[in-house]
C-alpha cells in the first residue's frame, strides 16, 4: 500500500503560476488526472516524479520526500510523455539497461517485456517501433522493478484504438494488483473508461475530485447554453421562461436566434420539444453552444 501525498503544492515559472495550491492523495487503484492541455498536468506529474521542485508545499511518498531523493525510484515507475528513448538500442537492450539501473538483471527485464507483450519485437531497434510499441516498451522499462507507484504522462496520446485498449487492460490490471497508478489525460472518455478515481485540474487549480460518476454528474448538471432558431422565437421564449429549468433567455437579433441558458439539463431537453409542439412553433435549430471541453472544465472550477 503506497500513498503519494501532494500537500499544498504550487509551482510557478517566473510570473506564470503553473500549479496553484494543489492538495491531493494518490492511493492504490487507477487515478486519472484530467484537465485541458496546458492545465498544469505535466508540471504536477513532474513534481510527483521528483523532476521538478515545488515552489511551495511538498510531495511525499509514504512520508518520504520525492524531490532530490534518488532512492525513491525503487518504488516509482515513470512513463514519460516524450518519445525519445535511446533509439539505437533494441527493445530488449533498453529494458535490460533499465533493469540494471534498478540493480536487477535479465530475468526482470524479460518478465517486464512479457507483461507488455513485446517479446516478439524485442530484438528490433527501437527506432523501427510504432508509437504503440514504443509506449509498451516504455511501460516495460517502468515496470521492470515492480514499483508500487506508476506515473504515466498522457500515455494514450497518438495510440490507435486497439493499442489504447491493450494499455487500458494493462493499467487496470496494475490497479487491481494494488499498485497506485496515476495517468494524465485531456480526454474525458479515456479517464472515464479506466479510472476509478478522478482528479480534475484546470488552469493550475484542483477543480474536482472523486469517482467518475460524481464528476460526470457535475459536468452534465452544469448550466447549458443552447442556440435555438424557430418559426416564432419570441413566443417560444415566453413559454420557456415560465419553466424553472431555464434561467435566462436572450433574443439575439443579429443571429436571429435565442440563447437559452438551461439550469436543469434533463428537464429542459424534455421541455423544449413539448412546448414547441403545444404552441405550434417549428424548431429550426437546436444546438448546444458551449460544449467545448474548456467550458466544461471552467464550469467545474467554479463548482
Amino acid at each position: 500500500m503506497t500513498t503519494l501525498n501532494i500537500d499544498h503544492v504550487s509551482r510557478w515559472f517566473g510570473n506564470v503560476v503553473a500549479v496553484n495550491d494543489i492538495t491531493m492523495t494518490i492511493g492504490p487503484g487507477v487515478t486519472g488526472l484530467l484537465g485541458p492541455n496546458g492545465a498544469g498536468k505535466s508540471t504536477l506529474i513532474n513534481m510527483m516524479g521528483g523532476f521538478l521542485a515545488p515552489s511551495t508545499g511538498a510531495v511525499t511518498l509514504d512520508g518520504r520526500p520525492v524531490w532530490r531523493n534518488e532512492q525513491i525510484y525503487k518504488d516509482i515507475g515513470i512513463v514519460p510523455e516524450r518519445e525519445a528513448m535511446y533509439d539505437f538500442l533494441t527493445g530488449r537492450e533498453f529494458v535490460l539497461a533499465n533493469a540494471e539501473l534498478q540493480g536487477l538483471g535479465a530475468t526482470a527485464a524479460q518478465r517486464a517485456l512479457a507483461t507488455v507483450e513485446m517479446e516478439y519485437a524485442q530484438d528490433r531497434k527501437i527506432s523501427t517501433y510504432s508509437k504503440g510499441m514504443r509506449q509498451r516498451v516504455k511501460m516495460a522499462s517502468a515496470l521492470v522493478h515492480d514499483p508500487s507507484l506508476l506515473l504515466l504522462d498522457e500515455p494514450f496520446n497518438g495510440m490507435d484504438p486497439r493499442q489504447r485498449m491493450q494499455l487500458m487492460d494493462l493499467l487496470r490490471r496494475m490497479g487491481d494488483e494494488g499498485r497506485s497508478v496515476l495517468f494524465s489525460s485531456h480526454i474525458l472518455e479515456e479517464v472515464e473508461q479506466l479510472a476509478s478515481h478522478i482528479e480534475v485540474i484546470v488552469a493550475g487549480r484542483h477543480a474536482a475530485s472523486g469517482d467518475f460518476r460524481r464528476i460526470r454528474r457535475l459536468m452534465t448538471d452544469r448550466p447549458h447554453v443552447y442556440l435555438v432558431r424557430s418559426s416564432d422565437d419570441r413566443a417560444l421564449a415566453a413559454a420557456l421562461i415560465a419553466d424553472p429549468s431555464t434561467a435566462g433567455i436572450e433574443v439575439d437579433v443579429t443571429e436571429g436566434a435565442l440563447r437559452i441558458q438551461a439550469v436543469d439539463f434533463g428537464r429542459f431537453t424534455a421541455l423544449l420539444p413539448k412546448v414547441a409542439r403545444d404552441q405550434g412553433i417549428r424548431l429550426l435549430t437546436v444546438s448546444p453552444s458551449d460544449e467545448s471541453l474548456e467550458s466544461v472544465f471552467s464550469y467545474l472550477v467554479a463548482a
Binding site: T43, G49, F51, R82, Y86, L101
Partner: protein
Amino acid sequence: MYDPTVARLTYRALLGRRRALILGALPVLLLVISAAVRGLSGADDQVAADLLGGFALATMVPIIGVIAGTGAIGPEIDDGSVVYLLAKPVKRSTIISTKLIVAIAVTMAFSAIPTFVAGLILNGNGQQIAVAYTVAALVASIAYAAMFLLLGTVTRHAVVFGLVYALVWEALFGSLVQGARTLSVQQWSLAVAQKVTDGDLVTSEVGLPTAVILLTVVTAGATWYAGQKLRTLKLAGEE
C-alpha cells in the same frame, strides 16, 4: 562513482555511426598530413613539433573533446531520454562521473593515440616529441572532457560554445594574447609534457605547479558542478 550500465549507454550513443565518423575524421586527417610531410620533407624535429603542437594539440584534441564531452550527455538532455537515467536509484554524481570517464576515454582514444602514431610517422619519436605530445593530449583530454561535459548539462548549444572556446580562445587568443595562454588547457597540458620529456622543443607558458593546480581545479570543479546541475535538471519541452 562508476555505473557500467550508464557507461555502456554512453559509449553506444557516442560511438554511433555518425558521431564516430566525425570523431574519426580529424585523426585520419592528422595521419594523412603527417605521412605527406614525412614523405615530402623527411624527418624533421621542428616540423614534427610544429605539426603536433599546432594541429594535433591546438585543434584536434579540443574539437574531439567538444564532440565527446558534450555528446556524452547533451543529446540525452536535449531529447529528454535522460529521464530514464534520472528516474533510477542511481546517484546523479555517479551518472556524471561515469559519463566523464567515458568522455575522457573516448577523447584520449581519438586524440592521444593518433597523436602518438603521427609523432612516430613524422620523426620516429626523435627528441621524445611523439611521447611529449601524447602526454599533453592525454592530460588535455581529461580537462576538456570535464569542461565540455559540464557545458552539455548547462546549455543546449554546447557544441557551438565548445567550438568557440576551442577554436577562438585556445587557438586564436592563445597565440595572440599573453594572458589568455595562462588560462588555456593547451598550455597546462604542455607544461606537464615539458616536464615529462625535459626537451626544449616542447615548452609551455605556464609553470608546472600552476598548470597542475589549474587542471585539477577545472576538472574537479566542472565535474562537481555538472553533478549539481543534473540534480536540479528541468527537463526541456514541458509546459
